[in-house]
């Protein structure tokens, strides 16, 4: 009963739907479902000959494995899973033609040979598309399939093509086809030159093939081209590593820069520094929750609002710590270290009690999602913004310390406390605010890190050792040292990773720092002279 109804419905739709050209194509489409690979291939060739863009979705459906034969009438339909059965659509028009039971349709099978034919056909068909993007993709498809059948279509398309980028893609596709087929040596050598220009992994693979199978002249040209491509690839690989290193370095810089203030400028060992970062990340979480609650439309702005909030929250916690604990311990660095470690334990537990031990979800605004390509590099917007942000924070801190009255007070107190006091600088207040500044910057780091790391009570623990390494490596009391230290360690880490693996790379970096500190106990940019010993 049900089946009969479907049949009727389908028949009705089949009568109602067809348009003028669809009618011409219909028999060819029906031929796809003939039941064996050879017939299917023939039908594809027939469809390709029409050069009609309407064929494209049909063949794409075949490629995706959505094309089915309806057993009841042998019609070729697009069937997609819907509930227990399939939802059917007409391959040419895309119109719905009802539903079918799972057993009522049979998938049109394709093998690897067909798969190649399909992509080549698609390539040839789409090469003439009015949309430049589609043409370029089609050229890429031919480049990958190396289908000799597409060569004519490619030549035709090339003759008409006016867009420079599409032209280049088509030329490369043509070169790939020529190199794979049995074109004369002169053409092949020219193709090698084109592929050398392209210079990526795919080009290298093609050239490798040519270097192994071609005639001597082709082999020679290919071998030379491979060397050039490999050099280029190595260069891009290095650039990619450099970017990863810069990215990691900027994360380290963000984490360490607050420490450079509290440890570097004040000489206070704050083991709870990581927890200031963690608090900043949780502040971001709370701000985002508030946005989700009251202004979901403005979610993209939540990070910008989180920045001052995190700065103030972490800074306030920092001031509270300085006033309640650290000020009693000035001049006793080891005791400060222990007390702040205790504070870090308590802060972690406090956050765990309030927010729970699991990770909290912090979303990325749309302008921080996604990625773009730059030559051979892939760069995500999130990382890019973090790099930019790290440098902005660094620059702002530098200006704050050099150009503002507050910065002047900090430096005055650091260099000569009693004299600063005598000049009317309120040293106790400067201490508290300096520590607050360092902690606030850690909070800013927390906002950035919430985008790339898990927001959990243990967030800070992962950064504290690294941050100390950066500050100590760069030289205590020197902001530029911190910058260089962070970037150098980030870079070294990422350059070691491909050879040693992430964990071993990290271990090697730690060992390197241990040895380095022993060679230059006061870091890269150490202060020299009597001031140090005093």
């Amino acid at each position: 009963m049900h089946r009969a109804f479907c049949w009727l419905l389908a028949a009705f739709l089949a009568l109602a739907a067809p348009t003028a050209f669809a009618a011409d194509l219909a028999p060819l489409v029906r031929g796809l479902g003939a039941g064996n690979y050879a017939e299917t291939e023939k039908a594809i060739a027939g469809l390709a000959e029409t050069g009609d863009p309407a064929v494209v979705p049909v063949i794409e459906a075949l490629q995706a494995g959505d094309l089915h034969v309806r057993k009841s009438d042998g019609a070729v339909v697009v069937a997609k899973r819907a509930g227990n059965g399939y939802a059917l659509t007409d391959p040419l028009t895309g119109g719905a033609i009802g539903e079918a039971d799972r057993n009522a349709v049979e998938k049109i099978r394709i093998n690897n040979a067909l798969r190649r034919t399909i992509s080549a056909t698609l390539g040839a068909l789409t090469l003439m598309s009015p949309d430049a993007g589609t043409r370029r993709q089609a050229a890429e498809a031919v480049f990958k399939s190396r289908d000799a059948n597409a060569l004519d279509a490619l030549n035709t398309a090339l003759a008409k093509e006016s867009d420079e980028r599409v032209r280049r893609a088509m030329t490369q596709a043509r070169a790939s086809v020529l190199l794979a087929g049995d074109a004369p040596d002169a053409d092949k050598v020219a193709a090698v030159a084109v592929l050398q220009e392209r210079g990526d992994q795919d080009a290298r693979a093609l050239l490798n093939g040519a270097a192994n199978t071609g005639s001597d002249a082709v082999k020679d040209a290919a071998t030379k081209a491979i060397a050039s491509v490999e050099q280029r690839l190595a260069l891009w690989g290095a650039a990619q590593n450099l970017w990863y290193g810069l990215s990691l370095g900027s994360v380290l810089l963000l984490a360490a820069i607050g420490l450079a203030v509290t440890f570097g400028v004040m000489g206070v060992i704050n083991m709870a520094h990581g927890e200031m970062v963690m608090i900043g990340a949780y502040a971001t979480f709370l701000v985002q929750e508030a946005f989700r609650q009251w202004a979901p439309g403005l979610f993209d702005l939540s990070i910008l609002v989180a920045l001052p909030v995190a700065f103030l929250v972490s800074g306030a916690v920092g001031v509270a710590i300085e006033r309640s604990v650290i000020r009693w311990l000035y001049g006793r660095p080891l005791e400060t270290l222990l007390a702040t470690w205790g504070l870090s334990l308590a802060l972690q537990q406090a956050v765990r009690s309030i927010f729970g031990p699991t990770n909290r979800e912090v979303g990325a605004p749309s302008w921080m999602s996604g990625a773009f390509e730059l030559g051979g590099l892939t760069i995500t917007y999130g990382r890019l913004w973090i790099v930019v942000f790290a440098f902005l924070v660094f620059g702002a801190l530098l200006v704050a310390l050099r150009k503002t009255w507050f910065g002047l007070s900090i430096r005055a107190v650091t260099q000569n406390r009693s004299m600063a006091n005598a000049m009317g600088v309120r040293t106790a207040r400067v201490d508290a605010l300096t520590f607050g500044l360092g902690s606030g910057i850690a909070g800013l780091a927390g906002v950035a890190l919430s985008q790339i790391d898990n927001v959990s009570p243990n967030l800070g623990q992962g950064y504290i050792i690294d941050s100390f390494m950066v500050v100590v490596f760069g030289g205590v009391g020197n902001l530029w040292g911190t910058l260089v230290g962070a970037l150098a360690l980030g870079g070294v880490n990422k350059f070691l990773e491909p050879y040693a693996g992430a964990v071993l790379g990290k271990i090697l970096v730690l060992i390197f720092i241990i040895l380095f500190i022993q060679r230059r106990p006061r870091g890269l940019f150490a202060l020299k002279g009597r001031a140090v010993e005093a």
Binding site: Q349, T414, I513, Q518, V532
Partner: protein, 379 residues
């Protein structure tokens, strides 16, 4: 001559401590093995192991006090030496399992079979012999400490810098031991031990034996440490702690003195770790975590650094508190521990024992409290 050397450091404090240890060495076996299980005096195997664990920590604290209290080196990586000693013992215990493992492989520990290894790595050879493992328990931590200290002290890394690189050292070791490629059990570490020196490791009598061994090791460590501290070498160490450059101008190679104390301390920590492993039944890389090293520092601080007996007391007290809290009020333990760090550094800078001494003779306190950040650039 040798007896005199070992006895010269013993004072009233030492008398009390050694008496307590002697009483424990007799009372615990009697209460654990000589009483009926329902007697109010009976000690369960679990309690014996717990007490043994506390005393292992006490030995670790003692070793830490030797360098922090007397040479001024605040090690944030002493758990590394403890854990290395523990691994050396763990490797011996693994080899004793023989073919009784899950996979029944007589030549390879289970985790290697699991990783499809076919051959025992070279560094596992010899660990089927107890004497070899016993040497390694001290040699491995000792060598690491010697190498580390040789570099660090020669280049005059001091103060917080030294503390931070000791922390980096234990952190690097933790990362390394987490790797399966290390061939030491990766994440899971070494466990499922069966027997030690032919005795069933679960048996009550073995547990009591291990406890007594721990008491003896702690007493021996204490006597050795007091003797070292009371010798002229110990006076040099204290002088190094208080004014290192002055000691150099007197003609002492302070690096060597620090290296001596540092290496000795690492060996003691290794022994503590080796005794710890059979009593808790497992050793894994998380023991290397910087947090465990810092926890050991707080035991010393609570008891009183530079007093030798204080850290022993501190280790037992804090760990007793930890056992109590983590069972009764797990949420509050980290608050309690964190608070302890802050309170001890702020109000009890010399610890429990130091407080008593402080009240007795009121030395003019060195003007440290009033010193401000600018004064300590050179740290």
């Amino acid at each position: 001559m040798l007896t005199r050397f070992f006895l010269m450091g013993l004072d009233k404090k030492a008398g009390v401590l050694l008496t307590v240890l002697a009483v424990l060495a007799v009372a615990v076996p009697v209460m654990a093995l000589g009483t009926a299980p329902d007697s109010p005096w009976h000690l369960s195997t679990h309690t014996v192991a717990l007490l043994g664990k506390y005393l292992c920590f006490a030995l670790l604290a003692l070793s830490l006090d030797l360098v922090w209290g007397f040479v001024g080196i605040l090690s944030l990586g002493h758990a590394a030496f403890f854990t290395l000693g523990g691994y050396a013992m763990g490797m011996y215990l693994m080899r004793q399992i023989g073919s009784r493992g899950v996979y029944g492989n007589a030549d390879l520990p289970d985790f290697m079979v699991f990783l499809n290894w076919t051959e025992l790595p070279w560094y596992w050879h010899g660990f089927d012999q107890f004497w070899f493992a016993a040497i390694m328990v001290m040699l491995v931590p000792g060598l690491l400490a010697f190498a580390f200290g040789w570099f660090a002290f020669r280049s005059r890394v001091t103060g917080v810098y030294l503390s931070i690189i000791t922390q980096a050292m234990t952190f690097a070791l933790m990362l390394a031991f987490f790797r399966n490629d290390m061939g030491l059990g990766g994440n899971n570490g070494l466990t499922d031990f069966k027997e030690i020196l032919g005795f069933d490791i679960q048996a009550a009598s073995t547990r009591v034996g291990l406890f007594v061994a721990t008491v003896v090791a702690l007493a021996a460590g204490y006597i050795l440490a007091s003797a070292v501290v009371a010798s002229k070498l110990g006076k040099v160490l204290i002088a190094v702690r208080d004014a290192e450059s002055r000691v150099r101008f007197l003609g002492y190679e302070t690096d060597r003195y620090k290296l001596f104390a540092w290496t000795l301390s690492a060996c003691m920590a290794g022994v503590a770790g080796a005794l710890y492993v059979p009593q808790v039944g497992i050793i894994n890389p998380s023991e290397f975590s910087p947090a465990s090293s810092i926890e050991a520092v707080i035991w010393v601080a609570v008891g009183g650094r530079g007093t030798l007996a204080g850290p022993v007391l501190g280790a037992v007290l804090v760990n007793f508190g930890k056992s109590y809290f983590t069972a009764a009020l797990p949420e509050l333990w980290l608050f309690a521990l964190g608070g302890l760090f802050v309170l001890v550094t702020l109000f009890l800078p010399k610890g429990i024992l130091g407080l008593a001494a402080q009240l007795r003779d009121r030395l003019p306190a060195r003007a440290t409290v009033t010193a401000k950040p600018a004064d300590q650039k050179g740290v």
